[in-house]
Amino acid sequence: MTRGVRPAPMRFVDEFRSGEVARRLADRIAGLTEPARRYKVMEVCGGHTHTIYKHGIEDLLPPEVELVHGPGCPVCVIPMGRQDDAIAIAERPEVIFTTFGDMMRVPATRGSLLDAKARGADVRMVYSPLDALRIARENPDREVVFFAIGFETTAPSTALTLLRARAERVRNFSVFANHVTILPAIRAILRSPDLRLDGFLGPGHVSTVIGVRPYRFIAREHGRPVVVSGFEPLDILQGVYMVLRQLAAGRSEVENQYKRVVPDEGNPAALEVIAETMELRTTFEWRGLGFISQSALKLRDAFADWDAEIRYAVPGVRVADPKACQCGEVLKGVIKPWECKVFGTACTPDRPIGTCMVSSEGACAAYYNYGRLARRAGREPAPA
């Protein structure tokens, strides 16, 4: 009917979204579940959460299988104090503050970066740190700061940009580093007493950088299967299938569903540039999870000239989350988004209180924007 509009299937997209294959996989998943047993599988990455809601994947899973949303949303884990620091830098008159779009709407003590921009701060959205470096070259009389966030996925592009800034001697450019590492967060969740998980869908894009071996402690020390999974809906379903297959066989191993993208050993060149430019912080605050030791990266001393934290005296004050906000529990998977007291009432995507309601990868935003269908309330099985 839409003649000429979709002449051919889109390669690398449509084949991973086949409804027919999905139904077959769903049948096989259902065939692996034991009656009266409940399966809690955490998808670590916010990208997974987004896909799950966007394509309605929960509709295809048997009611015994519950997907628990994990901490891997880079926007969600930035604590309010850091966002305040970012806005303090952005409001300096000489600064052009560059950021990924998602961070623009994250609420801080005095509104968001978008509000700071409306008050006069020069805040610009970029898709890559290299765009920020280009803006620095084009504006030699201004100071350009890049708000670096993200897990190991985005850290290499920040690292490469730093190396290029040094090579080209761009002096009016600096990085406000907020890169975090995924493993300490998973460890913190495994130690959390209020959560029982049966297995993990490992983060696909982080693993393109760090590989699959670093997850072995989850399988070996904690006895939980890990399946590194991709981000298309069929990837997720296959990942769930592989986790359940391990559980059915009593195995706990690290498997790689996302082999078309993730090499087992990761990307040594990317790891090398991260190590050249950044080092672990002793400790870093995660929104809702508190301080986690050795869980974030800062610039090495050799890059002090490009370190916004050194260049600008930021307030650096730890700010408590708003009382009503339960992002921490959501990030740990302890509660579902709708179980938060302010979900959908005081906290909505257009007026968010917590970070989980801002990012498209945040569990609350994904659930609010895509998953809010009342009939799903009926698919919860009776507690086993």
């Binding site: 966007k54 394509h55 509709d59 179980e339 257009d350």
Partner: protein
């Protein structure tokens, strides 16, 4: 932890959505206020609709319908601030004419007369003004309207970005024609006249800086022929028409679902989206349902008239890709739901964030 069940939480959210009570809490205008989503509604309804309060404005429709001796006039206005001013498939001048023409056309009117007001920045090349004026004249001829009044202001360098155009238009509404969300009934079909998201993606790529090479033109065009053809082919069966611009198809369908207190259920596999738009959206993390069109018509029609309506749209060159994209159901009221090609379903809500300012 909440003591409410999931269905109680969701029902509470829907109750709030169905009687939106917009609050404007910001102290300054932000770009979100211009995105066409919830923040725009808050701005318009709490400031302008309140200040100008009157029954003709109150529906906040694409055009106001004014009863005059011997018939009804449709009256509408539109401002264009797009950057860049020239883009693949069009320019700010053509866009400013089509924008008002389309608002009149989807209100059921035959567009007739336009006025144009220009805010020019000191230093703008005269040759560029000439090019834009010629483009507006051509767009007016294509749409069968005459530009009969205008105004020109010049501001100092730096006080405007090149030029902005505001157009206002008047059209005549045929006797007896009643369109509006109030007429929408469960079972009705939702029709879209062509692929969605072309304009938004074309502009985004034309801005540069993304290093994306996409062979795509804006769809800016007048939809008056589509609207007239549809009304002639399915008399009495067209419930409501809209032109999805800012905020995309998702936004206009949400407005209809809320106003009519019905559900609109979309079939993802039937949504017309060009591969170029799908690809760019995948890369940029956007949803084509929220990306702007500037020459499309969305209509809700009675099921019995659906085939005739489609035939009428496809008879016009601009509508050759017209198709049914969804249907109206009773439940859940006020919501747009997408049945995914993957076999699941999800909510399609109003836009909260702003993917990109100054697209129109």
């Amino acid at each position: 932890m909440s003591s409410r069940s999931e269905s109680e939480v969701l029902e509470a959210i829907e109750r709030r959505r169905r009687r939106p009570h917009y609050k404007l809490l910001e102290e300054h205008v932000t770009l979100s206020h211009g995105a066409g989503g919830k923040a725009t509604h808050a701005l318009v309804e709490t400031i302008f609709a309140r200040a100008f309060d009157n029954p003709l404005l109150a529906p906040l429709a694409d055009a106001a319908l004014l009863a005059v001796e011997g018939g009804r006039l449709a009256f509408s206005t539109d401002a264009s601030v797009v950057t860049p001013r020239f883009f693949p498939g069009g320019d700010i001048g053509e866009l400013s004419v089509n924008g008002t023409v389309n608002d009149l056309a989807v209100s059921g009117a035959r567009p007739l007369w336009l006025s144009a007001a220009f805010v020019l920045e000191e230093g703008l090349a005269i040759a560029e003004v000439v090019r834009i004026a010629e483009s507006m004249a051509a767009a007016a001829r294509r749409a069968g309207v005459t530009i009969v009044a205008g105004d020109t202001k010049v501001v100092e360098r730096g006080k405007a970005d090149g030029l902005y155009i505001a157009t206002t238009g008047v059209g005549v509404v045929p006797d007896g024609l009643e369109l509006g969300p109030g007429a929408i009934r469960p079972g009705d079909r939702v029709i879209c006249s062509g692929p969605i998201g072309d304009h938004g993606i074309a502009i985004m790529v034309a801005r540069g800086g993304l290093d994306l090479e996409v062979d795509l033109e804006s769809d800016t065009a007048p939809v008056h022929e589509l609207a007239a053809g549809l009304l002639a082919a399915a008399p009495g069966a067209v419930r409501c028409m809209r032109d999805p611009t800012r905020g995309g198809l998702a936004t206009v369908l949400n407005e209809l679902a809320l106003a009519a207190e019905v559900a609109i259920v979309l079939d993802e596999s039937a949504l017309p989206v060009r591969a170029e738009v799908t690809g760019a959206c995948e890369i940029l993390g956007l949803d084509p349902l929220y990306v702007a069109c500037e020459g499309r018509l969305a209509a809700v029609v009675a099921p019995a008239a659906c085939d005739a309506a489609l035939a009428a749209l496809r008879a016009v060159a601009l509508g050759e890709d017209a198709g049914v994209v969804g249907e109206v159901r009773a439940e859940p009221p006020g919501m747009v739901v997408l049945e995914t090609a993957f076999g699941g379903s999800r909510v399609v809500d109003m836009l909260a964030g702003d993917p990109l300012p100054r697209i129109c």
